[in-house]
């Protein structure tokens, strides 16, 4: 049983979810409310990880954050370290890989909002930023929670991208799904079984908690007009 790998996966999922919350909310706001005609292009880019093979995504990320890329050089200049095969590199890859799992629920939550509530807030002299936090976010809590849980669960189970960008370094980049792959490769089916069962259990609990929570949240904040 790879407790170290599990702990790494949980840390990775936690930070990925937090970062996705920070960049996903403004991105979803822009996608929902911007009048730009070309925003469908951005929507398509955000959704790419849903259809791209993880190896393709991982390959491009590896190139993009490599030591010879602008991003890699900037990171090296700032920290003296390298992104590929590091936890930070894995984090960058995970954020990109799970982006649609956060942004799409956020966007659908915002789009379902009654625009009149937002306009009422503006007319009451409350700025766009404050309106976002005082009206849009509280009324989109179910969608935001859904997006966060999906990001967390998706990151927990990622494999291909991790393998491409992070490799298999114990305690640094060996996530729980990679440790299962390792166990199977070395014919240690018992260990693979334990870890898989644990991952299955955690995933189920997380999703069950989400759906249960969403139901409760709905009871507290019914959609406007009902």
């Amino acid at each position: 049983m790879e407790w170290q790998a599990l702990w790494l996966s949980l840390r990775l999922s936690f930070w990925t979810t937090l970062i996705l919350l920070a960049i996903g909310l403004p991105a979803a706001y822009w996608l929902t409310f911007s009048p730009r005609r070309w925003k469908f292009l951005v929507e398509a880019v955000v959704a790419l990880p849903l259809v791209l093979p993880p190896t393709v995504l991982g390959f491009y990320i590896l190139l993009a954050i490599g030591p010879h890329s602008p991003a890699g050089r900037l990171y090296a200049a700032l920290t003296g370290g390298m992104l590929p095969f590091s936890f930070q590199g894995l984090l960058v890859a995970s954020v990109l890989y799970s982006l649609p799992f956060a942004v799409q629920p956020f966007t659908s939550g915002f789009a379902a909002m009654d625009r009149k509530l937002i306009e009422a807030s503006w007319c009451l002299g409350v700025s766009r930023g404050a309106t976002f936090f005082r009206v849009i976010v509280p009324l989109s809590i179910p969608s935001i929670v859904t997006g966060m849980i999906l990001s967390f669960a998706h990151t927990l189970g990622e494999f291909g991208v991790v393998l491409m960008v992070g490799g298999n370094l114990a305690g640094i980049t060996r996530t729980v799904s990679i440790s299962i792959f390792d166990d199977v490769q070395s014919l240690d089916y018992a260990a693979a079984m334990h870890t898989s069962l644990l991952l299955l259990g955690i995933s189920f609990l997380v999703l069950a908690a989400t759906y249960g929570l969403r139901r409760r949240v709905r009871a507290v904040w019914p959609p406007y007009g009902q």
């Binding site: 009654d114 009149k116 509530l117 306009e119 009422a120 807030s121 503006w122 007319c123 009451l124 002299g125 409350v126 700025s127 005082r134 009206v135 509280p138 009324l139 904040w221 019914p222 959609p223 406007y224 007009g225 009902q226």
Partner: protein
């Protein structure tokens, strides 16, 4: 600088008619202007342009000495900077906040407690909007708007979301509340009774254009053209031809029938004669002569339709003429379909407007 709200804007929504409105509302007299017109005339758009929620294609909006919008100079103030209290049709109360938190949402100063008391919301302060009736929601929306201390109130069909009995009661309450707060207001409605009950002045909008503005009584009694006459609910509007003019009176002919009216149409020979149903009286005996001040017309009753305590009588006197009588007098006179009666209309009750 004068202390008026001066609006002169044009706006075209894709696929819609062009909205063009020029209006002026004095800000110091806390007057209520009714923006009146049939559904789809562009009334809501005008309110949204003034509030800054939509941007005009061209024109200007000035509030006192503040320029809110000027297409030529590229000035456009955000809704937050205009300090306008805007009430949308369904009130848009924040569903996740209590009544108190809703009223306090954009409040300046410490007015919340007082406003809750004044709008009889103190008892409901800790409730959520979904626990409120339509009338209570409206009071919350109004209190919330006033808490932000607006310079101007914009009310979009504030009574239309209410059921009929509540609407009647709230019409009276609204009038009192608005008179109490001393803030100039523009109220959109397509309901004639609401316009009469609430408005100090009125602006008529038809097909995106502002057609006539003035004191409520004068616009309702003296529409400038046939479209406005129809919009303000004048029942009989007939094309007529001028036969003669003399001494401020005009004789017109409608389908062979001659009517005498007060002349205000100027030079035109083709006119519309507009007659309100209330100013038509029905007499049983078909005797008597037409005088210069009274038109007496032989008529046949086409239909009698009861409307609550009143009855709407459609008459055929060469042209269709609608009259309103109380149901009681209708029954006393025995008004029935097919009967012959005399319709009497005073010359001063016929409004002649130019045609074409």
């Amino acid at each position: 600088m004068d202390n008026d709200l001066a609006v002169d804007v044009r706006k075209r929504h894709p696929g819609g008619p062009e909205i063009a409105a020029a209006l002026r509302l004095p800000l110091d007299k806390h007057a209520l202007m009714v923006l009146f017109g049939p559904s789809g005339a562009g009334k809501t758009t005008v309110l949204r342009l003034i509030a800054g929620l939509d941007t005009p294609d061209a024109g200007s909006i000035q509030c006192g000495d503040e320029v809110w919008y000027d297409g030529a100079r590229g000035i456009r103030l955000a809704p937050q900077e205009r300090r306008v209290g805007y009430l949308s049709q369904d009130y848009a109360i924040f569903p996740h906040l209590t009544v108190r938190a809703n009223v306090a949402y954009g409040a300046r100063g410490w007015a919340v407690q007082g406003l809750l008391a004044r709008f009889e919301l103190s008892e409901l302060a800790d409730r959520y909007p979904r626990q409120l009736s339509g009338g209570q929601q409206q009071r919350v929306a109004l209190a919330r708007a006033l808490a932000a201390q607006p310079r101007l109130l914009l009310l979009d069909e504030p009574l239309s979301a209410l059921d009929a009995p509540t609407r009647l009661r709230m019409r009276g309450d609204l009038r009192q509340l608005l008179a109490g707060v001393q803030i100039p207001a523009i109220l959109v409605t397509h309901d004639r009774n609401e316009a009469l009950a609430l408005g100090d002045s009125i602006a008529i909008m038809i097909d995106g254009k502002l057609r006539q503005a003035g004191a409520v009584d004068s616009v309702f009694d003296s529409p400038a053209d046939a479209d406005v006459a129809e919009a303000v609910g004048i029942e009989t509007i007939c094309p007529a031809r001028v036969v003669s003019r003399s001494a401020g009176l005009v004789t017109v002919e409608i389908a062979g029938v001659r009517l005498v009216a007060v002349d205000i149409a100027g030079e035109s020979a083709d006119v519309f004669a507009c007659i309100r149903a209330e100013s038509v009286t029905i007499e049983r005996n078909a005797s008597g002569n037409a005088t210069s001040a009274r038109n007496r017309l032989a008529a046949r009753i086409v239909s009698v339709i009861p409307e609550g305590p009143l009855a709407r009588v459609t008459l055929d006197c060469g042209f269709r003429l609608t009259a309103i009588v109380t149901r009681q007098s209708g029954e006393e006179m025995g008004l029935r379909e097919g009967e012959q009666v005399t319709a009497v209309v005073k010359a001063t009750s016929i409004r002649i407007v130019p045609r074409g």
